[in-house]
């Protein structure tokens, strides 16, 4: 029987627990980038700037939660950006051209997002198509539908009522950011605390084995694709509320950034590894980089180089910390 002293010696320290956490690498990278930005730029830590970063993060953050959930399953959906854009445009048309109350338009647009996500999931599961290849096609269809509906012209006259969802603040925090936090909490609960979450990781690790264990693989894929479509639609709607117009360009930058954010956050593209929280940390790193290159007045011709280099540094830092953990655990 171990003595108290031995037990104390074996008890892991708080630092050790932190280091062993798979999110430690990306969290430390985020903290370091945040601290350096605060030290170098006197404007970085101002309340207004924090609000700008949080509001900007919210939209791509919602799509990142959607994409990371799919990536845990071992799937990728390249049409999430255009689903967001199409649902934003349709919500604008419902509010402005059909004269529907914004609450009704919002619900209908969310349902459209779910339907579009379901279509992706249905084609992947029923035809056995690779989600990456399939969604290149559906992204083209949804993006084309935006141009057909708008002729490339933004829909203006969005009701003031809905604009609070994009521009408003509650307790000093931007409303879209608060919505993203609520969605993140739900996604974390689903992935970490429910059987469905465990099934998602099992499918991502080995779909054939999961099927043999009796897990309804296709049903869960369908559910997650539908959930991802709804979150993208929500991001599109919030962007319409923020801009006060339904822009045909909404969602164009939500294709690669969420995948990059998820990978930075430790979500494996091969499935079964990572969590939406890590992906949001990754999205936070990207949001801060986008902010500081403006604060520092980086030349637009150097912005790609600078932001790319910081992302490579963040990923390298994460990889090194994982290697250290593996060695430490061996």
């Amino acid at each position: 029987m171990p003595t108290d002293t031995t037990a104390q010696a074996r008890a892991p320290s708080a630092l050790s627990i932190l280091i062993r956490n798979p999110l430690a690498g990306v969290f430390v990278a985020l903290t370091v980038i945040f601290a350096i930005s605060a030290l170098i730029s006197p404007y970085f830590l101002t309340g207004y700037n924090m609000s700008v970063i949080a509001r900007g993060l919210a939209f791509v953050g919602l799509v990142t939660i959607a994409q990371s959930s799919l990536m845990i399953l071992g799937e990728l959906d390249l049409s999430l950006g255009t689903i967001g854009g199409l649902c934003g445009v349709v919500s604008g048309m419902l509010m402005v051209q059909a004269g529907l109350p914004w609450g009704v338009a919002l619900v209908l647009a969310l349902m459209l997002g779910m339907a579009l996500g379901f279509v992706n999931g249905f084609l992947v599961t029923s035809l056995g198509l690779h989600s990456l290849v399939l969604t290149i096609g559906t992204a083209g269809i949804y993006g084309g539908a935006i141009l057909v509906l708008t002729k490339g012209v933004a829909i203006t006259g969005i009701p003031q009522g809905i604009q609070f969802l994009g521009r408003g603040d509650v307790l000093g925090l931007p409303v879209p950011f608060l919505i993203m936090l609520v969605v993140l909490a739900i996604a974390l609960f689903l992935t970490l605390k429910t059987p469905m979450g465990r099934y998602m990781y099992a499918i991502g690790n080995n779909a054939a084995a999961a099927r043999m264990l009796g897990i309804r693989v296709d049903r869960i894929r369908l559910l997650v694709f539908t959930f991802a479509g709804m979150l993208s639609a929500l991001a599109g709607l919030l962007m319409v509320a923020r801009l006060g117009t339904a822009q045909p360009s909404i969602g164009q930058t939500w294709v690669l950034a969420p995948i990059a954010a998820a990978v930075i956050g430790g979500v494996a593209t091969t499935g079964g590894i990572g969590s939406p929280l890590g992906a949001i940390f990754g999205a936070g790193i990207i949001a801060i980089i986008e902010n500081i290159i403006v604060l520092f007045g980086v030349s637009p011709y150097w912005q790609g180089v600078v932001s790319g280099a910081i992302v490579v540094l963040a990923i390298s830092f994460d990889a090194l910390s994982r290697r250290y953990l593996r060695r430490d655990g061996a």
Binding site: V52, G152, V153, R167, G244, Q247, P248, S249, Q303
Partner: protein, 314 residues
């Protein structure tokens, strides 16, 4: 005692005069100014705007002794969401002024209101302010610029033939105004038929693809006009690739180096050019004037130039 009374009276008179002098328009002074230039997108036309802005900074620095810094911050793509993000981040740095070419007045309104809320002077160039917002703006008469080009095309075609319009970024007001004015001119001539309109989103590559497809679908097409600077360059490339230099007339827009080369080589007939350097120059001048408290005009017209083979190197 009498002396003291005279002195007090003198001070009493001088104080309001001094106060008036301090409050006089255009007399507020700082040792340094930082102005932000936000174009629609990374693009050579806007590099010329930036060149003009740098010239104005040098001129002001030489004349006033103040340090003038120009920060040029461009969205990587012509996306209003990115542009709004740049402006909002820039507001955090408390610049002395922001000059911006709006991608979409409605979409940009929120960020402009945020800047005004923090008393940051604004100037809009190559675009028009959102409806109801009191912001000075600089540009050429976009409609007149387009009409110069489309009238020239009608003249070269002898008032007859099929023509096409490249629209640029449809949500950008200057591009949509130009496209509409092209349509107005062509509608005045019964012999002219607009058979196609393309959208190039201010990208030479997309313009080339669109123009090639439109010329394939309309083999009798006789002429092109554009609504943005990238458009005519892409159209010119498509004309050369299709070997239609002698069949299709291109009247371009603006004065990018590729456009001037096409006029010299005969691929393009001519170009109706706005003057980006002047827009950048006067954007900085108007921002500086506002920062000093001086009144500025609501609108400043930098004019258009019509470029042909005869005057392109003049």
């Amino acid at each position: 005692m009498r002396k003291l009374a005279t002195m007090l009276a003198g001070v009493a008179i001088a104080m309001p005069l001094a106060a008036a002098a301090q409050d006089a328009a255009g007399t507020a002074k700082k040792d340094s100014y930082r102005f932000l230039i936000v174009p629609k997108v990374v693009h050579p036309w806007f590099d010329k705007v930036n060149d003009g802005a740098q010239m104005a900074a040098e001129a002001l620095q030489a004349q006033t002794g103040a340090d003038i810094e120009i920060v040029y911050s461009a969205p990587q793509t012509a996306d209003v969401v990115q542009q709004v993000q740049i402006v909002e981040s820039a507001i955090s740095t408390r610049p002395d002024g922001i000059a911006i070419d709006l991608l979409d007045p409605s979409g940009n309104r929120g960020s402009l209101e945020a800047a005004q809320g923090q008393d940051i002077p604004l100037v809009i160039f190559d675009s028009v302010p959102p409806e109801g917002m009191d912001i000075p703006y600089i540009g050429s008469d976009f409609c007149e610029q387009a009409k110069i080009a489309s009238r020239r095309l009608v003249e070269v075609l002898g008032g007859e033939g099929e023509v096409a319009i490249m629209m640029g970024v449809p949500t950008a007001p200057n591009h949509s105004i130009r496209a509409e004015c092209h349509r107005e001119v062509f509608a005045e001539h019964e012999g002219i038929t607009v058979v196609a309109e393309g959208i190039d989103n201010d990208s030479i590559e997309i313009a080339q693809q669109q123009a090639a497809a439109i010329m394939q679908a309309n083999p009798d097409l006789k002429g092109w006009v554009a609504s943005d600077a990238a458009g005519p360059i892409g159209i010119g490339q498509a004309i050369v690739e299709a070997g239609k230099e002698d069949q299709v007339t291109l009247v371009g827009l603006d004065n990018l180096p590729e456009m001037l080369d096409m006029i010299r080589s005969g691929v393009a007939d001519s170009s109706s050019a706005s003057q980006p350097e002047l827009q950048g120059y006067w954007s900085v001048m108007l921002l500086w004037a506002q920062a000093t408290g001086a009144p500025v005009p609501d609108y400043l017209d930098t004019g258009n130039a019509f470029l042909t083979k005869d005057n392109v190197d003049g």
